[in-house]
């Protein structure tokens, strides 16, 4: 009987099975890398968004200006307006939604980082806020969804709905950044030029020098992302050189960094065309470009999903590995953005004794400002 043969052959072939012991460490290392990729996607947002903002504004403007005006057909019937009127950006704060994609191991865009950019009404302050993609929010019609899932399922439309509900903000445009393409674009430009006024030291371990001496150097796209996301170890040491690097990089870009040169400018905008796409939602390219004032100060804010522990440590301590957006710390941030106040805490982490407490359990806590502020 063929069935008996199959059973026998399977039994006989058990001698092919290797020991599983060496796999354990490989699995743990793989999981660590996977978590790290997610973290990099999240925390490199500040750099990516700043580059996108600066690169895409001119790109949009050039495209916009280069396109000849389309003759108006006066005989065509005017379609009935279906969209709400577009409120010009000038003189008011602006908010943009951001999604970073393209980090999937399989090559699929299956890892996303989401966040938002808030530009103050006076255009002097720019907050780039990276949100944990795995944070869950209530989305009408979908129940509790991770932010990254909301983006996967419904693109910016659903993400907009989800974030508008928890933040009370309205969004004026969207930015999509393909991080690998961005890294390549940086390399195509010959790297990122960065200057430090002083030698950088690790904030906590002063004896361990951060690899940048005082002066200027050029780093590759991969290194730029790596340095921008550098952290110390341990929850209490999360503020650090990575942010300093990002800040230095951004200052460099904002304050010249080669963009004054026409050829450099053209190379820059062309290189980033494939990495960044922007939906202005009816606003003009010039309005978009004007979002960055000449002396804009950028603050990168990372909303951490929880304490910075390894998976094993979280397990050891019996803490859940999934979490809901920690409203206790996010709500004040969103309130500040709604009121156009400067938010200068670069790392927003749960400080509540129960950091994973869900503060959006029902209608009672909504909208923000009723109970939690």
């Amino acid at each position: 009987m063929i069935e008996d043969e199959l059973r026998a052959v399977f039994e006989r072939r058990e001698d092919l099975v290797p020991s599983a012991a060496p796999l354990v460490e490989k699995i743990n290392e793989g999981a660590r890398q996977r978590r790290r990729r997610r973290r990099i996607a999240r925390s490199s947002m500040a750099v990516a968004v700043a580059v996108a903002l600066i690169a895409a504004g001119p790109v949009m403007t050039r495209t916009f200006l280069a396109t000849p005006p389309v003759p108006t057909d006066t005989t065509a019937p005017t379609p009935a307006p279906t969209e709400p009127p577009i409120v010009p950006l000038a003189g008011r704060p602006a908010n943009l939604l951001v999604a970073i994609s393209g980090l999937g191991r399989s090559g699929k865009k299956d890892v996303h980082s989401v966040g938002l950019v808030h530009v103050s009404a006076d255009r002097k302050n720019l907050n780039v806020i990276a949100l944990p993609g795995v944070a869950q929010v209530e989305v009408p019609g979908h129940g509790k969804l991770k932010l990254e899932d909301a983006y996967d399922i419904g693109g910016f439309g659903l993400l907009d709905t989800a974030l508008a509900r928890v933040s009370g903000l309205t969004f004026d445009g969207t930015i999509t950044i393909d991080l690998p393409a961005l890294v390549k674009a940086v390399d195509d430009l010959g790297g990122m030029h960065i200057c430090y006024g002083n030698r950088e030291y690790h904030r906590v371990y002063n004896s361990r020098p951060w690899p940048f001496p005082a002066g200027c150097l050029t780093v590759s796209g991969e290194d730029a992302m790596e340095y921008a996301t550098y952290y110390g170890h341990g929850a209490q040491y999360m503020l650090p050189p990575g942010f300093n690097f990002s800040a230095a990089l951004l200052r460099n870009i904002v304050r010249g960094g080669g963009l004054g040169d026409a050829d450099d400018f053209a190379r820059f905008t062309d290189a980033f065309r494939s990495a960044v796409s922007i939906d202005l939602r009816g606003h003009t390219a010039q309005e978009f470009r004007d979002l960055i004032g000449p002396n804009a100060e950028l603050t990168a804010v990372t909303v951490k999903p929880g304490y910075d522990k390894t998976f094993e440590e979280i397990q050891r301590d019996g803490e859940p590995t999934e979490f809901v957006m920690p409203a206790a710390v996010v709500t004040p941030l969103f309130a500040a953005l709604r009121e156009d106040r400067v938010w200068d805490d670069r790392l927003v982490r749960p400080v509540d004794p129960d950091p994973l407490r869900e503060l959006f359990p029902g209608d009672g806590d909504w909208p923000p400002g009723t109970d939690n502020e």
Binding site: L6, R7, A20, N28, G30, R35
Partner: protein, 177 residues
């Protein structure tokens, strides 16, 4: 059950299943590693289910079915040359009382023929004849109807029977679906 406990109890068993599924210990390790990374990242959800091992086996099976054809198909498998084993087996079919060496060769041939089956069929066969799962459970793993499971197995057995009666040359070529 904690993740570590699950690994201690089930990892070797999962690897064994993966080897039977793929026929290739190296690919089996890759698939188990990938599946367990997913499981570790989602352990809270996986561990909360009644039968986490069932959920993990499903992930593993799906990974096998969806695994891209790639260089691994050209890897050298750790078993005897199909040509040699099928030559021996061809003679064994005509024998009423095959000696133990011939029976081993026949099993080698069956093992090699498994590689010709489409992946879903092979998965169904392994789940029934190696893991001893009921058709309902196999249907859950493969995410299909019970009738489909029976059809998979029936076709797989039919293919194997036909191939075992074929002359040696007819069993070469093909690949996993």
């Amino acid at each position: 059950v904690t993740y570590d406990e699950f690994v201690a109890m089930r990892l070797q068993q999962l690897l064994r299943y993966a080897v039977m599924l793929t026929g290739d210990p190296h690919l089996a390790e890759d698939l188990v590693q990938e599946a367990m990374i997913k499981v570790q990242l989602k352990w809270r959800r996986v561990g909360a289910t009644d039968r986490p091992e069932f959920y993990v086996r499903r992930i593993l099976t799906n990974l096998y079915i969806d695994w891209r054809r790639g260089p691994w198909l050209r890897r050298v498998l750790l078993h005897s040359d199909p040509q040699d084993s099928t030559n021996v087996a061809a003679g064994a079919v005509a024998t009423t009382m095959p000696d133990p060496a011939e029976r081993l060769a026949e099993r080698d041939r069956v093992w090699n023929l498994l590689a010709l089956l489409p992946r879903r069929q092979r998965a169904a066969v392994v789940l029934r004849y190696y893991e001893d799962l009921a058709d309902v459970e196999i249907a859950e793993v493969l995410d299909c109807a019970v009738g489909t499971v029976r059809a998979h197995i029936s076709r797989a057995l039919g293919t194997l029977r036909v191939q075992l009666k074929e002359p040696t040359g007819a069993t070469t070529g093909g690949g996993q679906g």
